[in-house]
Each structure stands twice: as C-alpha cells, then as structure tokens.
C-alpha cells in the first residue's frame, strides 16, 4: 500500500494553488481531505505526478449561510457541516441527514463536501444531495470564477466539468423557503461503506397543500448520481398522496441503472432506488407536517 512517487506542493494561498495547477495541468491533483484520493493512490489506482495540498487555505474552510444561500468552501470538513448551528433547521434536513451518513465519523473529520463532488464517485452521497438541492459549484479558471450548475458539473464517473488546471473553490446551495424539507435515505452494508443505493429528496410546498417543486436524485444508480426528472415533474403541482409517491418511486426504479457488485445485484439496487425515494418523500412530507 505504497503510492507511486509524486511531487508534493503545499499551497499557501488560493492564487498559489491555482498557479501550481496551471503549471502542472493534467499531471496534478488537488489534495483536500484526501479520503478518496489517498487510498486510490495507495492502491496505485491513481498516480498523480503532483499533489497540490490546499489544506492551508483557511479562507476556503468557510460554511456560510445568508438570506440567499448556503456556501461551503473547498476545505470545509464533513464534520463541520454535521455540527453546523443551522443544520437542525428543517429546510436543511436533506443536508442534515446526509451529513450524518457520509462515510464514517472518522473519515468525516477530514473529508470535504467539495472534494466529494469533485471525486464524483458513482456511489457518493454529496453528489445526489447537490442534485436534489440544485446546488452549483464555483470553479476557478483562467478567465476567473464561474458557477457551474450541478447537472453540468457531474460529467461521468470520476469526471467533472472542472477543466485541466482549474480548481473547485466551493459549492453553493440555494436557500430553500421555510415550506421546504428533505430527506436522505441511504442503504449501506456497514457504517463507512459507499451506498448500495441512496435517494436524496427535497420538497417545497405551496400554501394550498400542493407540491411547488421537488428535487429527487439517486446515488449508486449509474455512472454518477442521477436526477429523477420524471419524478420531479410528476410531483410538481400535485397534492401529496400514496399514489403520487408510488408513481415517483416507479420513476426512480426506471431511472436507476446501477452496476452489479458486491453491494448488490442490479435488480436489488433498482428495487431499493424505488423504495428509498418513497421513504424519502414520506419523511420529507412528514417533516412538513403533510399527511401523505
């Protein structure tokens, strides 16, 4: 479990990190929490020639909530999100749930939300959460910073819209209104495992008791986390009920295209996608005091 030789560069400012990345291009990888990258390097599955360590960039450790959004910096730890003062607010219940089941408590001390998005593991947690909550990633490129919507950001397994020499600085979650709640449902073989299947759900209600909008996404259901568009469309504008939930659940089953592995077979994972979306919707609605 010894990585191949690599050059280690510690950046002291974001500018310096960016300069390193520009200089080394595709040879370089950003080291944030390192909870996926380091194991991959130890197995020699990843062999970056250069590591750019951004852990000294304290101005990227922020977790900020204002009237419009929640912004999480590139080296804010999962554990910091888990313990954030706003996490108990119902409107953040999707993030609340996920923050408690990402990896295990030890990994969460170092692991980062942004790092997880950039890693884009097919069975990651934050990717599905970001889809359901319609987040955007702030990417620094040659022509300055740009916001990339999460649907565009997640390109393929272990591939994102962050280009060569670019770096992700943070993620921005739009502030949900106070008639919003979510739920993250994850099935794992043991604490710390990647999801066998997972569903991220976020629901906003109208005053008339109909659903204004819904975010529904799945993890471990394809090359990377996927949005269940069909479920989102059929939920919007409808009054919640068991039939509606079943329809959303069926849509999730159809959308899920997992791979068989030691965590489970294709039909089991597809089945779970449906079950977990239904459970997520029921829990989100229950949090809003809505009888489904």
């Amino acid at each position: 479990m010894i990585p191949a030789a690599f050059e280690y560069l510690r950046a002291h400012t974001a500018d310096e990190a960016f300069a390193f990345l520009q200089q080394h291009g595709a040879e370089a990888r950003v080291l944030a929490g390192g909870q996926s990258l380091i194991p991959a390097m130890r197995f020699r599955l990843a062999r970056p020639a250069v590591l750019v360590d951004i852990n000294s960039l304290n101005d990227l450790s922020y977790i900020r909530v204002d009237a419009k959004s929640l912004a999480i910096g590139a080296i804010a730890r999962d554990a910091d999100v888990e313990r954030a003062p706003w996490i108990a607010d119902r409107r953040w219940s999707l993030i609340h749930d996920a923050s408690r089941v990402v990896a295990d408590p030890v990994v969460r001390q170092m692991g980062t939300v942004v790092g997880s998005l950039c890693h884009n593991d097919p069975a990651g947690d934050w990717t599905a959460v970001a889809l359901a909550a319609r987040a955007a990633v702030v990417v620094r490129g040659k022509s300055g910073n740009r916001q990339v919507g999460i649907d565009d950001f997640l390109v393929d397994s272990f591939t994102t819209a962050t280009g060569e020499g670019e770096m992700a600085l943070g993620v921005v979650f739009p502030m949900p209104d106070d008639r919003t709640a979510g739920s993250y449902q994850k099935m794992e073989r043991k604490v710390g495992d990647f999801a066998t299947a997972a569903a991220a759900v976020q629901v906003s209600m109208n005053d008339d008791g109909t659903i204004r909008s819904a975010g529904v996404a799945l993890s471990a259901a394809g090359p990377c986390a996927v949005r269940v568009d069909a479920a989102e469309r059929l939920l919007a504008g409808q009054k919640p009920g068991e039939e509606l939930i079943r329809a959303a659940s069926d849509a999730a089953w159809h959308r899920s295209a997992p791979q068989a592995d030691l965590r489970g077979s294709v039909d089991y994972k597809k089945h779970l996608a449906g079950v977990l979306v239904a459970r997520g919707l029921r829990q989100a609605l229950a949090r809003l005091g809505v009888q489904a």
Partner: protein
Amino acid sequence: MSIQAKPLHSVGVPMKRKEDPRFIQGKGHYVDDLSFPGMLYLSLVRSTYPHAEIRSIDITEALKVPGVKAVITGKDLEAAGLGWLPTFHGFDKQMVLAIGKVLFQYQEVAAVFAETRAAAVDGAEAVQVDYAPLPVVADPFTSKADKVLLRPDRESKTNRIFHWEVGDKDGAARALASSARRIKQRVWFQRCHPAPLEPCGCVAYFDTMGRLQFHVTSQAPHVYRTALALVTGIAEDKIHVISPDLGGGFGNKVPVYPGYVCAIVGALKIGRPVKWIETRTENLTSTGFARDYHMDVEIGATADGRVTALRVATTADHGAFDAAADPSRYPAGIFGIVTGSYDFPVAYAEVDAFFTNKAPGGIAYRCSFRVTEASYAIERGMDILADELGIDAAELRRKNFIRKDQFPYPSALGFTYDSGDYHKTLDVALERIGYDALLKEQAEKRARGELMGIGLSTFTEVVGAGPSKHFDILGIRMFDSAEIRIHPTGAGIVRTGTKSQGQGHETTWAQIVAEELGLDAGAIMVEEGDTDTAPYGLGTYASRSTPVAGAAITMAARRIREKARKIAAHLLEAGEADVEWTDYRFQVKGVPARSVTMKEVAFAAYTNMAQNEPGLEATYYYDPPNMTYPNGAYVAVVDVDRETGEVKVRRFVAVDDCGTVINPMIVEGQIHGGLTEGFAMAFIQEIQYDAEGNNLSTNFTDYLVPTSLETPHWETAGTVTPSPHHPMGAKGVGESPNVGSPAAFVNAVVDALSPLGVRHIDMPMTRDKVWRAIRDAESTKG
C-alpha cells in the same frame, strides 16, 4: 456478568488487564515497530492469474529501480533446496515462490529486496512476468471431476486431497432409513478470513554469532523454530524466534508463510536484516482463510422428536495447497464434534477435500479445527428438524440434550464429553431473553404479516488440543508448558509456550499463579513469545491456552507450593507433615496463630532455606488427559424489513459455560469479540471469488469488518460446570462465541421468514439475499 459464585483469592476476580495501559497508550511493541541498522525491505510480486504457466520472469527493469538490491524467484529457491515448504499437518507442501506455474491469484512469484519500502514496491511493480493462462478450477465440485489436474507435482493424480470419515456408516444409513421422520439440507459455511488488524510480517537477520534472529507475528513461536530448522537446515540452537505484541491472530498467524522464508533467504544472501510486512490485500488474498465447507446434513427422528441418527457429508475447498494447519491425525480437524449437544445413538461424518485455484488455508478464524463448521451444521439441522416436526426449537433441543447425569459422555463419533448441564444453560438463556413473551409477540406479529424471528444455538465445543496420544503438529505432541520463578520479595515471573494475541494472558496467567500461591497478581509478570526464554509449547489457537498452558501453570505453581512447604516447615519449626496450606498461607495444622505467608517463604527461599535447595522455581509440561467441552446457549431476536431485506438484530443473549472462570471481565470481552465476528460472518463477511477464480474481496471495502456502530448490543451470562480433569476446572472460551453464534443468527432469520416457506439461507445473509428469498417465496405463493 456474574458467573462465579464467589471470587477466590485471585481467580474469579474481574482484574483489569495488565497489558491494556500499554496498548491503549500506543506503547505496544509490534514487529513493524522494529528497525535495525542496514535493514532492507521485502516486497513480493504476486500472480495476477488464478492458474497459469509462467513462461518467463524478467527482473532486469526491477534491478534498475533505485534502491533495489536483489530479486529472487522460485528457481533460485529451488536451486537452494528451499522451493517448497511443508504444510503444518504434514500431508502437503506449498511453493515458497511459484515454480513453473501459479495456482491462485495473488500467489507469491518473486521477492524484491530494497533499501526502502517504497523502492521494494516499485521494484516489485517492475518485475515482468509472462503468463500463459490455464483452465481455472474455482470450486470443489468442478475440482472433483478431475478434468483439470491442479497438482501434477503430487504422487496421486487427482484433485481430491483426502477422504476422511468417522462413525458407523452402515448403522447411520440403516437408522436414517428406518426413522419415522428425517430432514436433509445442504448448508455452506462460506469462505471467510480472520483479518487480524495487524497483518503478518517479520524481520530476519543473522547476528554476529551467525544466529538467525527472527522476529515474527506468530501464534506458535516454538513450532516456527522447529519448522524453520527442518525447512532450512539451520541447527535449531542457531534460531531465535521472537513474537512480540500481536495485533490479533485468530488462527491467521499459525501457518508459516512464503514471505517469512523469503525474508530469511534474503537476510542470508545479502547479509543484512530484512523486514517483510504484508499489506491488507496480501493478508486477505494469500494467508490462512477459514471454512469453505459445503455440508449435507441429514437427521433422523422419531415422530415425537427423539433424534435417531446423524449423517453429514462434506465437500471442502482447501485451495491450491493443503495448508489447513490441522493436527496430523485429523485432516478434517475435530469435525467429529458434529453431533453437538445431542444424544445421537448413531452417527457418521465424512469429509472430502479438494484442491482449487484459490488461496490455501482453511482452519483459522477463532476455531478449534473445524468445530465452527460442525456446530453450524448441527445447529442448523436441529432447527430444520424442529420446523419439519412442528416442535418448538427449544423443546426439541431439551428432548435430545445429553443429560447431566450422562457425563462423562461417550459420543457416537468418539469423543468423551467431560461435563455440562445443557438443560440449565438453555433455561438461563430462555429466562434471560423472555422466551415465552417473545413467542407471543411473534405470533401477534405474524398475524399482521410482520417478520420477526427467534433463533437458538445450543452448541458444544471441543477445545484444548490436546492429549498427546491423539494430537500432534509435525509430530510434536500438543502439550504445553509453564515455568514460574518466584523472586525473594514475593514477586515473580511466569513463562509459557503459548502466545497471547489479545487474549489477556499477562493478566490471566498472573491470576492463576496468585491464586495457587497466595501472592499478588499485580506482581507476577508474564512473558511469552521468546523461544530462548520460554519453555517449549505449541502456542495459542484453538482455545487451548487456558485448558493446556493454564493447567501447566497451575501444576507448576503447585510444585512451587510443595517446595515452599518444606521451607515453611523450617520457618515454623514444625514437621513438614504438620504444615498445611490453608487460607492462602502455611500454618501448623490446627494452629492458625503459627503461620507464614508465601511472601515470607519466598524471602526465606533465598535467605534462610536451611538444608533445602535454594530458590523457588518450577517448570511443568502438561499433557492434557482429555479435551475440554465448553458449551453455551445463544438466543438471537431479529426483525426483518420485508421491503429491503434489512435484518435488525434486536437482542442477543449469550449464556456460556466455560467451566471455572479465571477473569470474568476477560471472558466477557472474549465473548463480545467472538459474537461480533459471528455476526460478521452471518451477515456481511465472505471471501468471494468469481467463476474465473478472481478474488473479489481484496480489501476492507470488499471484505467487511463490523464497527461498533453496526454491532448489536450483547447480553451475556454464564453457568459454571467445571471440567473434572482440568486442575482449575477451566475449559477455554475464546472461540465459543464465534462457534456458537452464526447458527443463532441464521436460525433467527430463517425463523422470521418461515411463514413465507423459506427453509434455509446461506451466509452471509446480505440484504440482497434476504430480499430475494422473500421475493421468491412471495412469488411462489402467488
């Protein structure tokens, strides 16, 4: 847990473990902590193919890697007469480095020695091996057909390693045929791995006297010394084996591995110390695995539930070499314990073992030589029989238990069970779990379609190998030993032939000495693992330490007491016959006022011994007259989620009877650990190979070890039925929970699903598998 009726002086006291402050503070001293001037690192090149001819090995590029000093291959070792290594029970041999072909994925192919660990790994990566793939035999049933001969090097041209049988074949067949009721079920105890947190490793060097100093992760240091002398031809006095602190073993650190031989050869060839520490992947893919027994269980019974016969036919997958470290006369270990806790009038068991293109091994993981497989088979079988007869599972067991007045009990398969009170142990468990209330709750839930299960396992273990007339490894009889020295101030040191890997010997052994001699257990040091200082012993595995070495300590302490009595007589100015050992001191018979403590006697042994021989030391080699037979009654309660197949272990009660308990806290800790492993095997653990022989379980993402977060809460209790032949009445306990618990979990889950018509699920009972069983049962029902 309160097992002992009344703590004595030191035995029965839940003394805190003396070794723990060192471990908790990170001050343990492990093999990988060692460093010597000029030390090189060894990394092994391993096969990427499960079965292939080696066309060529090109080491040119490897030798160019900066820091690489040497590369050796199987041909080099063969030339030195070290190409093959005998396996421990003596029926087979194993390639040290592949010669001509590879027989399993991750098999050792070449050894690279370098200045740093990183350079060694880089060098190993640079070795070019040209393989020509051969047809793969990935399971024992394919192997049986002998279409592909895996071991042409052997005299017998078949993949069958052995056929072993015990019992009355014809009698069992007749009794089964004439039984009113009978069941038959194939159960597979899947391939698992002990996965100690510290992997295997060693440091080897030859000192200025030309002596091999060998620091190694070994559960049996003396056996290693003798085996190394036999394999390498180095005189045994020129070999010093030291096993320092071990981070777990569970049987994984019993065999001698190719990496050890390579390290020694490298140290000899290059003349510098060599360290080899395997990676997690290497540990999981190439070292001693556990189980892989496919067992056809048949039980006959009368209509009212009296068992009439047992027959078990097993197909065993031993991998590429027969490296199951069984005692030499027991190729299938102590599988004959398969009649379990029940009074079978007749029984027959057979095991057929086969080579496959998988890693070798087969008896490890907290298991007294195949006892885990046997217990699982009989405890599943009894539940299936209960289901077949419509009799409550507890009732069926009660009806068939060996009664306490039948001990010593000769079993149909040749064991003499020493003691037990199975009815009482079960009663304690059922009372503790509230069995009747649970049955009522279950009936109500079933009416509502909810899936709740209750699973029992009332197992009997056989541990403490073993009596010299039956048990040996490489011909060495399986006694164990103790040497005790009491110092002038009443402190002392005890050394044994065993080797703790976390079992707490530093505390337990001190307590035995303190109990026997009336001394302070805190002032008795325990030393193990150094073959220069410890008396010869066979090591720690198969729950043998307390039954064998614990007995040796007791007997050595009693020898000291006899010598001390002479000195006490001198101090008390009494005749030796008038001095009695009472209340942990010597006194003149009937005159409590005239007494001396052992501490006073110890001082006198060095200062005022009169005509007696100075000093206070004794050694004892203990040859156990019989095995010991711990038993237990376990109850698991589970709730199954119909929608997802998720199983929640709501409660688990474990009642163990391991005879006299020396340290109840350590015993409870052992039970917690073993139950956690049983839980793991039942639900999440399997070394999986695909049909092409590729190992899929190569790290802790794919071979799961439970953490405290998913492990159920364990409720423990005990009964005490002392062993009549062990000098302290102790039986051994380390393995009981691992042996007994898998069946309780499976019985509980199958019980939960039984209303759907499910009769059996093989381990590990993953959610996918449970969900599939529910779905299939529901679709069959329509």
